[in-house]
């Protein structure tokens, strides 16, 4: 049985239909990511789950209980916000104990829990500091600790890493994932960053225009995109129609769209015999992207992108003619 169940959720802002009949089930202990571009409805759904927004239609179940009309304070859901939302007039310690005091918890128990949470987010020694004196990363750690210290049934994370720099983001991703496992939490994470979603999630729900476009494990979503949108949003797929494929491979293709990941192309100046389809093309552009070099290649007037590891052996120059190979199983029919 699902731990969280969202049944036919609709949400309108005036005439704007933001969530369109969302059905979603989340298992206990899963780290679930709602992924999608800005304005697709993922944050709205998270806020509906938190109770900060009222749904227009549908039902929200948590642990077998209907929480659709419950106040946020009664849902036992913790939340980490994008802009931290720490209380500026309270120290780190006071921020963390705020929720526990509202639960009328014994002061020694509050002290113990706060101490544990602070240790967990590696902020020991910062207990008496005010949020204003902490760095962005430290503030986000406090926000995370404040979210988990109340031992919520579900932890919601609304793009919590979008305001921190890239290096810190990676370390916080690991931190969040580790805490999620250590506490056995059920977490719902919202992001527009597909790499972040891949790294952190057990399950990804890809959102598009108020609907769930595709759901699955990171590997499934990455390797088997169900639609053109999914292929375009995840993995920067080459999306080609059957005519393009015919011009590339010289064989007939059934009508429809084909998605090919850039890293599945094999490039060589020598003859390629290991792949199902072999073509010849000309490099028209190259763009370094970290440890990967992205080539733009023109094959019979069809332009494709191909990624290769940034090693000298794989490097070609613009204008080079070369052989390009791709396996049939990497040509995903959409």
């Amino acid at each position: 049985m699902a731990y969280i169940e969202l049944k036919k959720i609709d949400k309108f802002y005036g005439d704007n239909h933001v969530l369109k009949g969302i059905d979603l089930k989340i298992k206990k202990g899963d780290f679930v990511t709602l992924l999608g571009p800005s304005g697709c409805g993922k944050s709205t759904l998270l806020r509906c789950l938190a109770g900060l927004e009222q749904i227009s239609d549908g039902q929200i179940m948590l642990d077998g209980k209907d929480i659709t009309n419950e106040d946020p304070k009664d849902r036992k859901i913790g939340m980490v916000f994008q802009q931290y939302s720490l209380f500026p007039n309270m120290t780190v310690e006071e921020n963390l104990s705020f929720g526990l005091k509202l639960q009328k918890m014994d002061s020694s128990e509050i002290h113990r829990r706060v101490k544990d949470a602070i240790e967990m987010v590696e902020l020991s020694g910062k207990e008496k500091e005010y949020p204003g004196s902490l760095s962005g990363g430290q503030q986000q750690r406090v926000a995370l600790a404040r979210g988990i210290v109340i031992r919520p049934k579900v932890l919601l994370l609304d793009e919590p890493l979008s305001a921190v720099d890239a290096k810190l983001r990676k370390s916080l991703q690991t931190n969040i994932r580790m805490i999620h496992k250590e506490l056995g939490l059920t977490s719902v994470f919202v992001t527009h960053d597909q790499d972040e979603a891949m790294v952190m999630s057990d399950v990804i729900h890809l959102f598009h225009d108020g609907r769930i476009e595709q759901s699955g494990s990171p590997v499934e979503v990455y390797t088997k995109p169900a639609t053109s949108f999914a292929a375009g949003f995840i993995g920067n797929y080459n999306i080609l129609d059957s005519c393009d494929m015919e011009r590339l491979t010289g064989k007939e293709w059934p009508s429809g769209r084909i998605a090919i990941r850039p890293e599945t192309f094999f490039l060589s100046k020598n003859e390629i015999t290991t792949e199902d389809y072999c073509m010849r093309g000309t490099i028209t552009d190259s763009l370094p992207r970290g440890n990967v070099l992205r080539y733009t290649i023109s094959i019979n007037d069809v332009e494709i992108y191909a990624d290769v590891l940034f090693r000298s052996i794989s490097m070609f120059d613009i204008g080079d003619r070369l052989n390009i190979g791709v396996s049939d199983h990497n040509c995903v029919r959409l």
């Binding site: 938190a50 109770g51 900060l52 106040d71 946020p72 304070k73 859901i77 913790g78 939340m79 916000f81 802009q83 939302s85 720490l86 209380f87 500026p88 007039n89 705020f98 929720g99 509202l102 639960q103 008496k128 005010y130 404040r146 979210g147 109340i150």
Partner: protein
């Protein structure tokens, strides 16, 4: 380093000049109140007579006390009402913000003498408590200071992201009302204090409204000052100095409380 030092010295000199410029009229007023005559370059005949007379004049202290009450009550009431209104706007109806803003800034457009004259003609023969002069005065001042109090509170609410803080508190188990008063208000107190001080200065400095509404009924510090002006220049200066000291003490008290809170945070 040297450039930085020079800049610091320059800034200090500029601030010093501004302070002297601002305090000069007060210093001259004080000097004038301490001497019998000031005909030549230097004043002559040092005396504390003007102050002795004032300190022994119960009418003066009653007038000051009345002025403080008339200033404090509308400011407190106005601040409370605006806070409650802003609670409703922030928590339940953000779309009402524009309407509240228009309502609260309307008093800016009402010229000094128009408001008390209208109030007087409307309520002078009204039943109690509306016909009560003190009630009229307090209510009128509430309207006069409304834009200042509202602007201060609104700017601070926007500055701290009040709606976000309330949502964060809700997720920790707080009700919206509790979150507003336990989390939001402590964070805007600095700004509220400044608005209150500004409102206090406006009310304390008013003569038109108080004279129109309460002229023949009871005496306030401003009316006392107006009365004394006709009798003695030295005594008038002494009243001005004492009124300045009273407002200074009230302002210093408010800022002391605020800075104590800030120190507590910094520790």
């Amino acid at each position: 380093m040297n450039v930085e030092k020079k800049q610091n010295t320059g800034a200090k000199i500029a601030i010093g000049v501004i302070i002297v410029y601002l305090l000069l009229p007060l210093a001259m007023t004080m000097i004038y109140s301490l001497f019998r005559e000031w005909i030549d370059i230097m004043p002559t005949g040092f005396t504390l007579n003007a102050y002795t007379e004032l300190f022994t004049d119960t009418l003066f202290w009653k007038a000051v006390g009345r002025t403080i009450v008339i200033s404090v009550v509308p400011i407190v009431l106005c601040t409370v009402f605006v806070l409650l209104a802003m609670y409703v706007v922030v928590v339940y109806h953000p779309d009402w913000n524009k309407m509240i803003q228009i309502l609260c800034t309307v008093p800016y457009a009402i010229q000094g003498v128009i408001l008390p004259t209208c109030v007087l003609s409307l309520y002078s023969s009204a039943p109690e408590p509306f016909g009560n002069r003190m009630f009229m005065l307090v209510s009128t001042y509430m309207v006069v200071i409304l834009p200042y109090v509202y602007q201060g509170i609104r700017n601070n609410l926007n500055g701290i992201g009040a709606a976000r803080l309330i949502e964060a508190a809700q997720m920790l188990g707080a009700s919206r009302f509790y979150a507003f008063f336990r989390v939001v208000i402590p964070n805007i107190m600095g700004g509220v204090t400044i608005s209150v001080m500004l409102a206090m200065a406006i009310v304390f400095g008013d003569f038109v409204i108080i004279n129109t509404l309460a002229g023949g009924h009871f005496m306030t510090a401003q009316m006392y000052l107006y009365d004394v002006m006709k009798k003695s220049g030295q005594r008038t200066c002494a009243v001005i100095v004492l009124l300045f000291l009273v407002t200074l003490i009230i302002s210093a008290g408010a800022f002391f409380l605020q800075s104590r809170e800030k120190d507590r945070k910094d520790r």
